[in-house]
Amino acid sequence: MRRQPSQLPLPGFDQARAEWRRAYGEQLPEERPIFNRSGIEIAPLYTPEHFSDERYMDALGFPGHGPMTRGIYPSMHRGRAWSQRQLIGLGVPEDYNRRLKRILASGGTAVSLIPCNSVYRGLDADQVDPLLLGTCGAVVNTVDDMDACFADVAVDELSTAMNDPLPFTLLALLLAVSDRRGIPWTKLTGTSNQSDYISHFVANHMFFRIALPGSRRILIDHIEFTNRHVPGWNPVSVVGQHMQQAGATPAEAMAFTLCTAVQYAEDCIARGMDPDTFLPRFTFFFDISISFFEEIAKFRAGRRIWARIVRQRFGARNPRAARFKFHAQTSGVDLTRQQPYNNIARVTAQAMAGIFGGLQSLHTDAYDEVLSVPTEHAARIAVCTQNILREEAQLGDVIDPLGGSYYLEHLTNETEALIESLIAKVDDAGGMYRAVETGLVQTMIGESAMRFQARVDNGEQTVVGVNKYRLEEDSDARASLKRPSPEKIEAQLESLRQYKKGRDSAAVQRALETLTRVADSENENVYAALVEATIAGATHGEVVAVLRREMGDGEPLIVP
């Protein structure tokens, strides 16, 4: 707590503060300090000495303007509510299509496509154990599969977020589908989620990787290609979510995400690209933990830092470049298997933090994600949670409604300073690419994960139903989702065989040879060659195999 006189023009402030401190100390003579997850000490009370209105214009300003603290758009959620973007994907393309149509029928316009883990690993269905096919996402290997995913759906009327890690084969398949349907690429909008290869090296997760130097090149090729040919597409989603799920504190996750975005921007500039053109297409993706105020402060601080970086480091003048557009997902790690219905309350609090943090798009976790891949029933509750917060609780009515809170403004400032110090650390290590290559970032995150777990283990951090308020008999229902039947998987494998038989194999062969040559060259766009190969009929696994062979496999950078 601060000891110096307040120097505020508030008559009686100092005296009243001293009296309150005395009374507080009488009630709580031996209080242990409280820290948030990022390690910032939390005081019992905040007053104008922590944040005064004299700093308003420098620190806050107006939404869509200046420091951007209050939001990136002038009208924020009042003008356009956040997108409800639930992750979907399971089984075979027809399953995906059925679920997609149900979501569209209920008014959704922003959709996602989550492919099967085999796709994430860079493999076609015929290259993995059939037991695992379609258990976590949709099997999508060919242009026929992508066409079936979006059967009877106008792909140019949707904003499609695809979990499409490098080398971005799903977008290539979507472009091929657009060609088939006569839709110009310029009409497509959406985002290449999971395009942030650095985050995949930091937190292993499920994605296969091409060795770091190759990954670095493919991402920039992809940005260059989409900027030119698919201008409505966001080629980059810089991801803090993986890092926070892997154990990074909220401040670390924000800092390392900003460092990653800086790295990608510098790589684009080195390629001769213009920040005013590529930066407006940068997007971000974060985790929202249940540490309520800390998360709101994280988002506000991140938005302010990004606006500053964009203007100061990169000299961008396009106002759209300074917009810190982000999608967020409630934290799966915070959910418990014990008394799983409690997770609905957790997700609600997390979602509120994200909304107050000024997000553009939100995925609320289903309460049963800790039990299995979500059931449709639980997914519906997750969607309704958002509807309730928006239309019953009316959380979107006022822009940045917690702005001006002495606590939140002070916490935003402290979080900002902490994030800045972490960014400086990464800068000193030679930037994010280098800091990940050497394992610096992974080590820091690993240590934070252990510190947090130790707090749960010793009871300092309460987890309801796990280390406190446990029930002897935990009778909450635990339904789980049906997996695709072996027959269905066999039919999918058969369709892959038929696809390979029916295509012009000579053309595919030629296109894959071109891809090989371009991958080995220095200055041709490897993503353009990949799209050509896909249009010629090559499958996901085939193009990935070429790039793996020519550019090397990405070994996990494991910290022992």
């Binding site: 690993g446 283990d457 494991i558």
Partner: protein
């Protein structure tokens, strides 16, 4: 008791299949190391056969598999491969997201224990130690 019985327990901690989420396996590896065990920790995405070879080469007392995204479905194949390599006595435990209806099938296939999210450090360490001790005694008896 022979000196070999007093060697620290050796545990192989790994992930098979397609998923790489490794926060859980790292934490469990640290728990076991802190409890004095020797942990052989692998990168995720191991093939079943590679894991069997490693278990044999490293002479481990127990295998712990972490699973988040349905890779536990491959566990019966791992147990089968261990039996085929004459390592059928090696206890295998799994931790992570395992739906209730799969748990029974895994136990029937020979998995010794399924740890769900929220399992405590003590529960994990003591169960692993007990299963590893049991496996050692069994192997010693068999070698006579």
């Amino acid at each position: 008791m022979s000196t070999s019985a007093q060697r620290p327990y050796r545990v192989l901690v790994s992930k098979i299949g397609l998923d790489g989420h490794d926060r859980g396996s790292r934490i469990v590896a640290a728990y076991l190391r802190d409890a004095g065990m020797e942990v052989i920790y692998t990168a995720p995405w191991q093939e079943v056969q590679a894991l069997v070879r490693m278990a044999s080469d490293e002479d481990v007392d127990l295998i712990g598999i972490s699973s988040l995204a349905t890779d536990h479905l491959l566990l019966p194949k791992l147990l089968e491969a261990l039996r085929a390599a004459d390592l059928g006595d090696l206890p295998v435990v799994v931790g992570g997201i395992v739906p209730d209806e799969d748990e029974q099938a895994l136990i029937e296939a020979g998995v010794r224990r399924v740890f769900h999210p929220g399992s405590s450090r003590d529960e994990i360490v003591s169960t692993v130690a007990a299963l590893a001790a049991e496996a050692r005694i069994q192997r010693k008896t068999e070698s006579f």
